[in-house]
C-alpha cells in the first residue's frame, strides 16, 4: 500500500485506488454515478500537467486538474 496523493500527480500508465473524494456533495454524487468513488480502481491513460484521461472499468473520463486534485488515491503497489 502506497501513500495517499491527489490523482492529478500520477503519471500516465499508473494504476491506483480512490481513497477519498474531497469535493462538494453535488460533485461527489455526480462522480459516484460515473464510477469515481472510494474503492474504485482507476488507471491513468493520458496525463498532461494535471489534466488526465483516466479509465474506470471500461469507461474513459477526461478530468481537469481542478477535479483531479480533489480525488485522493492510493497508488497500486
Amino acid at each position: 500500500m502506497g501513500a495517499v496523493c491527489p490523482l492529478a500527480l500520477l503519471a500516465a500508465g499508473t494504476e491506483a485506488t480512490i481513497a477519498d473524494v474531497r469535493a462538494g456533495r453535488g460533485m461527489r454524487l455526480r462522480l459516484a454515478g460515473m464510477g469515481l468513488c472510494p474503492d474504485a480502481r482507476v488507471r491513468v491513460q493520458c496525463a498532461d500537467r494535471g489534466s488526465l484521461i483516466v479509465s474506470v472499468g471500461d469507461a474513459r473520463y477526461a478530468l481537469s486538474r481542478g477535479i483531479a486534485m480533489k480525488i485522493l488515491v492510493m497508488e497500486a503497489a
Binding site: 459516484a32 468513488c37 488507471r43 493520458c46 498532461d48 489534466s51 472499468g57 477526461a62 481537469s64 481542478g66
Partner: protein, 663 residues
C-alpha cells in the same frame, strides 16, 4: 391496456436515440459524444393492438441531476411516471451503467433493460450472459443492437408485458445494518406525508435523503413530514452515508458482474493509443487545426465541379427566362428575383452537403469529445469550461442546436457564457457568403481564407468569453469532467443520412425563408413604379442609401447594406439579396461582383468578417431568448455582435487595404 408510455433512459452516449429512431422510424440526431440529446422526444408506434408512446430522454449518470439536460430526464421519470422505463445499457460498460439501474429499481418503476451495443461487447470477446443477468436483477434483459435494429420486437414485447403486469421489484441494494436502521427511521417519519407517500416509494425517498439529495429534500419541504425528517437528518452526518451507499451499490454490482461475463476490462484499448497521440500536450492543438484546415479545403475543392454544374444550370435558366418571358416585369421577377436570388444560394448546395458530411464524421468518430479535452486548458485559463467547446463545434453546422446543446453544461454562468459566444461560431448559412467572395476575390487561396474565418470566429468567441468573465459574468469556470467515448469508424449510412437530413433542410430553407426574403428585396428594388430596377430611386436604393453612412467606413455600398439588413432573417439571404440586386442579366453573380468597381479584395474580406460576426439570425435569437429566458441577454447578443463585427471588419479591411490596396 391500450396506451402505454415507455421512457428510454440511461447513461449518456449508450445509444438511446439510435434505438429510439429504430423503434419509431424517427430521424433524431445521433452522435458519438455524450449530450447529443438534451430534450425529450416522443414517437408513437402500434404493436399487437397496443399504442405505444416512446419517449427518448437525455442521458444521465444517476438520478442526482447536475445539468439542465439531466434534470429533464430525472423529472420525467419522477413526475410523469412512465409505465415502463427501458434502461438502455451499454454492454461494453456494464458496471457503471448498472449503477443507474440500482437507483431505478428503488423507484419501483417497471424496468426493462436493453442490453445495447451487444455486438460490440461480443466482438471484444466479452459476451454477457443475458439470462443470468436478468435472473440476478429480476429485471427482463433484452439484447439489442440499435444501429442494426436487432431485438426491437423483443424489447417492445418485454416492455408491454412489464407495463401490463407492473411487477414490484423487491430486489434492491441492502446498505448494511446501520444505514438500514436510518432508512427505516426515515421511512417511518415520511409515512406521515400521505401525499408524498402516494407519489414516491418511501424507501427510495429515505435513501435519497440519506445521501443528501437536495432535490428530494425540496420535494417534501413544508409537508407534514418535513420537520421530523429534518430533525433526524440534523443528528447524523449524511456525508458518511452518501459514500457508504455508493460503495454498497458498486459492491452489489461487482457481486453480479463476474457471474454474467468472463472478461475483465482491458487496460489499454486501441482508443487509448489514439488518445495518447491526439491529446498530446504539444501535438493536440496542431492536430485539431490541421484537421479543420483539411476539412475546409475539402469542402471547397471537392464541391467546385458540382458547383460549376449547378451554376451553369442556373445561368441557362436565367437566360431562358430573360429571352422568352413576357411581360418584362414577370421576366424580371423570375429572372432577377427568384432565379438570381434563390439560384445564387442553391449553387452552394454541394458545399453545404460536404460540410454536413464532414461534421457527421466528426461527431460519429468520437473526436469531438477529445477536442473539448484538448481545449480545456486554454479555455479554462480564459474562463470557459472545456465542455463549452462541444456546443461551439456543433455551431459550425447551425447555432440553433448548438445553443440547445449548452444544456449539458453544469454551471448556470458557464452556460450563459457559452450561449452568448456561440453565434461567433460560423454556421453553415454563412459558408455561401465566404465561398462566393473568397472564390471571386481570392480564387487561389479560397480554402485558406475560409479556414481563417472559422478560426477568427473561434478566437472572437474565446476573447469575448474572457471579456465577459472579467466584466459582466465574473467567476471561475466549473471543473471539466467528460466521458471520452471509444472511437468508432463512422458508418456510411449514418453519415450520409445526417448529410441528407441537414442538406435537404437547406434546400427547404431556400424554397421558403430565402425565397420570401429575396422576393421582398425584388419588390423593394422594383418599386415605386417606374424606377430603374435596383436604382437609387427604388425603395431598396432608399433604404440602402440611408444605411450607407454607417457601413461606408467599412467600404460597403448601399447594395451590401441592403443585403446585410436582410441577412438578419437568415444569413444565406446576404448572397440571395446580392443575387437579386445585381440581377442575373447577361452575367452571373460572381462576374458581376468582380466587375463592380466598388468592391475590392480588401472590401470582400471586410464583408466576410462582418457577416461572420454580426447579429445572429432570427432563429438563433429565438433560441437564445428561450434558453436564457431573458430579453436583456438576447438584446445584448444583438448589440455586442454588431459592435464587434463593425470594429473587426474595419480593422481587417483597412489592414488588408494596406497590403492589397483599395477599400
Amino acid at each position: 391496456m391500450t396506451g402505454i408510455r415507455i421512457a428510454l433512459a440511461g447513461n449518456p452516449n449508450v445509444g438511446k436515440t439510435t434505438l429510439f429512431n429504430a423503434l419509431t422510424g424517427s430521424r433524431q440526431h445521433v452522435g458519438n459524444w455524450p449530450g447529443v440529446t438534451v430534450e425529450k422526444k416522443t414517437g408513437r408506434i402500434t404493436r399487437n393492438g397496443h399504442t405505444v408512446e416512446v419517449i427518448d430522454l437525455p442521458g444521465t449518470y444517476s438520478l442526482t441531476a447536475c445539468s439542465a439536460d439531466e434534470v429533464v430526464a430525472r423529472d420525467y421519470i419522477l413526475d410523469e411516471k412512465p409505465d415502463v422505463v427501458v434502461q438502455v445499457v451499454d454492454a461494453t460498460n456494464l458496471e457503471r451503467n448498472l449503477y443507474l439501474t440500482t437507483q431505478l429499481a428503488e423507484l419501483k418503476t417497471p424496468i426493462v433493460i436493453a442490453l445495447n451495443m451487444a455486438d460490440m461487447a461480443e466482438a471484444q470477446g466479452d459476451p454477457i450472459d443475458r439470462e443470468k443477468l436478468s435472473e440476478f436483477l429480476e429485471i427482463p434483459v433484452v439484447r439489442t443492437v440499435g444501429t442494426r435494429g436487432d431485438g426491437l420486437d423483443a424489447l417492445l414485447d418485454a416492455a408491454i408485458r412489464e407495463a401490463e403486469t407492473s411487477p414490484h421489484h423487491e430486489h434492491t441494494v441492502g446498505y448494511g445494518s446501520e444505514a438500514e436502521t436510518m432508512i427505516a427511521t426515515l421511512t417511518d417519519a415520511l409515512s406521515a406525508d400521505r401525499d408524498l407517500a402516494g407519489r414516491y416509494p418511501l424507501r427510495w425517498l429515505a435513501v435519497r435523503l440519506l445521501e443528501g439529495d437536495e432535490n428530494v429534500l425540496s420535494r417534501l419541504r413544508k409537508g407534514p413530514a418535513s420537520a421530523r425528517v429534518e430533525e433526524i437528518l440534523s443528528r447524523i452526518d449524511t456525508d458518511e452515508y452518501e459514500a457508504l451507499m455508493a460503495d454498497k451499490r458498486y459492491e452489489a454490482i461487482s457481486a453480479v458482474l463476474p457471474q454474467v461475463r468472463k472478461a475483465n476490462p482491458r487496460e489499454m484499448s486501441p482508443s487509448d493509443m489514439v488518445d495518447r497521440v491526439v491529446t498530446d500536450r504539444y501535438l493536440g492543438i496542431p492536430i485539431f487545426l490541421a484537421l479543420m484546415w483539411g476539412a475546409f479545403e475539402l469542402t471547397f475543392t471537392v464541391a467546385t465541379p458540382f458547383m460549376t454544374t449547378i451554376d451553369g444550370g442556373v445561368a441557362w435558366l436565367a437566360e431562358l427566362v430573360a429571352g422568352s418571358i413576357e411581360p418584362a416585369w414577370l421576366a424580371s421577377l423570375l429572372g432577377d428575383g427568384i432565379i438570381g436570388g434563390v439560384g445564387s444560394v442553391l449553387i452552394f448546395l454541394p458545399n453545404i452537403f460536404l460540410l454536413f458530411l464532414i461534421l457527421a464524421v466528426l461527431e460519429d468518430s468520437g473526436y469531438l469529445a477529445r477536442a473539448a479535452f484538448i481545449m480545456d486548458r486554454p479555455l479554462y485559463a480564459l474562463g470557459l469550461p472545456g465542455k463549452s467547446f462541444v456546443p461551439m463545434l456543433v455551431g459550425f453546422g447551425c447555432n440553433v442546436p448548438a445553443i440547445m446543446a449548452t444544456r449539458s453544461i453544469e454551471g448556470e454562468k458557464d452556460r450563459l457564457l457559452t450561449i452568448l459566444v456561440n453565434p461567433f461560431m460560423s454556421c453553415s448559412a454563412r459558408l455561401p457568403v465566404y465561398i462566393l467572395f473568397a472564390g471571386v476575390f481570392f480564387p487561389e487561396q479560397a480554402g485558406s481564407v475560409v479556414f481563417f474565418l472559422y478560426v477568427l470566429g473561434i478566437a472572437v468567441a474565446i476573447a469575448s468569453a474572457k471579456l465577459f468573465r472579467s466584466t459582466i459574468l465574473p467567476g471561475e469556470a466549473s471543473p471539466f469532467i467528460m466521458e471520452m467515448p471509444p472511437y468508432r469508424i463512422p458508418t456510411a449510412t449514418t453519415a450520409l443520412l445526417h448529410m441528407w437530413t441537414r442538406g435537404s433542410m437547406y434546400v427547404r430553407k431556400a424554397g421558403t425563408i430565402i425565397l420570401t426574403g429575396v422576393l421582398v428585396v425584388w419588390i423593394l428594388a422594383s418599386f415605386p413604379f417606374g424606377v430603374e430596377y435596383g436604382g437609387a430611386g427604388s425603395f431598396a436604393g432608399m433604404i440602402g442609401h440611408a444605411i450607407e453612412p454607417l457601413v461606408a467606413p467599412l467600404g460597403f455600398d448601399w447594395k451590401v447594406a441592403v443585403a446585410l439588413i436582410f441577412g438578419f432573417i437568415a444569413k444565406e439571404i446576404v448572397v440571395g439579396s446580392l443575387g437579386t440586386l445585381y440581377g442575373t442579366g447577361e452575367e452571373t453573380l460572381p462576374s458581376a461582383l468582380l466587375a463592380d468597381p466598388g468592391l475590392s479584395a480588401a472590401t470582400a474580406l471586410a464583408l466576410m468578417v462582418f457577416v461572420l460576426l454580426y447579429t445572429p439570425c432570427v432563429a438563433a435569437l429565438g433560441v437564445i431568448r428561450k434558453e436564457t429566458g431573458s430579453w436583456k441577454w438576447t438584446g445584448f447578443s444583438v448589440a455586442y455582435g454588431l459592435v464587434v463585427a463593425w470594429l473587426l471588419a474595419f480593422a481587417v479591411g483597412h489592414a488588408a487595404g494596406l497590403f492589397m490596396g483599395g477599400i
